[in-house]
């Protein structure tokens, strides 16, 4: 289960809407499965169908997360026209089995849907999000 403060979720959704029609992406930092900080990242693909985080931003964020004594607990991105479920491309690019993969669906722009998943060796498992 992922524990997430509503303000962090709102921040992610706001970024996803701001980046629309392109996909947005970012990193969720925290500890013991509880989100504490959101890092908005640049989608280097600038695409409505794919995302790739800027590597320089990734390295910077990972160092800061470590300095704050936190961990990367999630990687999030938006699907602008499809459901909040990992695509085959998401699965191919899931290199961190220990983190949660969050997907914000903007299929209904006024009613975004978020899903959280663990992706381990190609197997997708949905997990609950406990909003606090």
């Amino acid at each position: 289960m992922l524990i997430l403060n509503k303000s962090l979720l709102d921040k992610m959704i706001a970024q996803c809407k701001k980046e629309y029609p392109n996909e947005a992406c970012g990193i969720l930092a925290g500890k013991s499965g509880r989100g504490e900080k959101v890092y908005e990242m640049t989608n280097a693909d600038k695409s409505a169908a794919t995302f790739l985080m800027d590597p320089k931003e990734q390295l910077k964020a990972m160092k800061e997360i470590r300095a704050l004594n936190l961990e990367m607990i999630g990687i999030y991105h938006s699907h602008v026209a499809s459901c909040a479920y990992p695509s085959s491309h998401d699965v191919e690019m899931a290199f961190y089995p220990e983190v949660s993969y969050l997907i914000v669906s903007l299929k209904g722009m006024n009613d975004p849907v978020i899903g959280s998943f663990k992706i381990v060796e190609g197997k997708i498992t949905e997990e609950d999000i406990n909003l606090v």
Binding site: E23, T50, M53, P86, H89, M93
Partner: protein
């Protein structure tokens, strides 16, 4: 003989003469899916095999973080 490097913020002893490609291999990391930074500069992939690590080198690696709705059914 071993040297000490800082790998993702942690000290690690590696054999003297180890190059970046060999280090990734020891960690079971596919070089084609990571970005490697050596002493604050991103290292180009073709240089992984020719870059020999030195005492005190600070090396960071991050897996690519990507994906997207491509190929998903609406």
């Amino acid at each position: 003989m071993k040297i000490t490097i800082i790998l993702n913020g942690k000290k690690e002893a590696v054999e003297d003469g180890t190059n970046v490609l060999k280090l990734l291999g020891h960690k079971f990391i596919r070089p084609e899916v990571v970005t490697v930074e050596l002493n604050e500069k991103i290292l180009e992939k073709p240089k992984y095999g020719e870059t020999i690590l030195k005492e005190g080198d600070r090396i960071e690696f991050v897996y690519y973080m990507g994906g997207g709705s491509y190929a998903v059914r609406p």
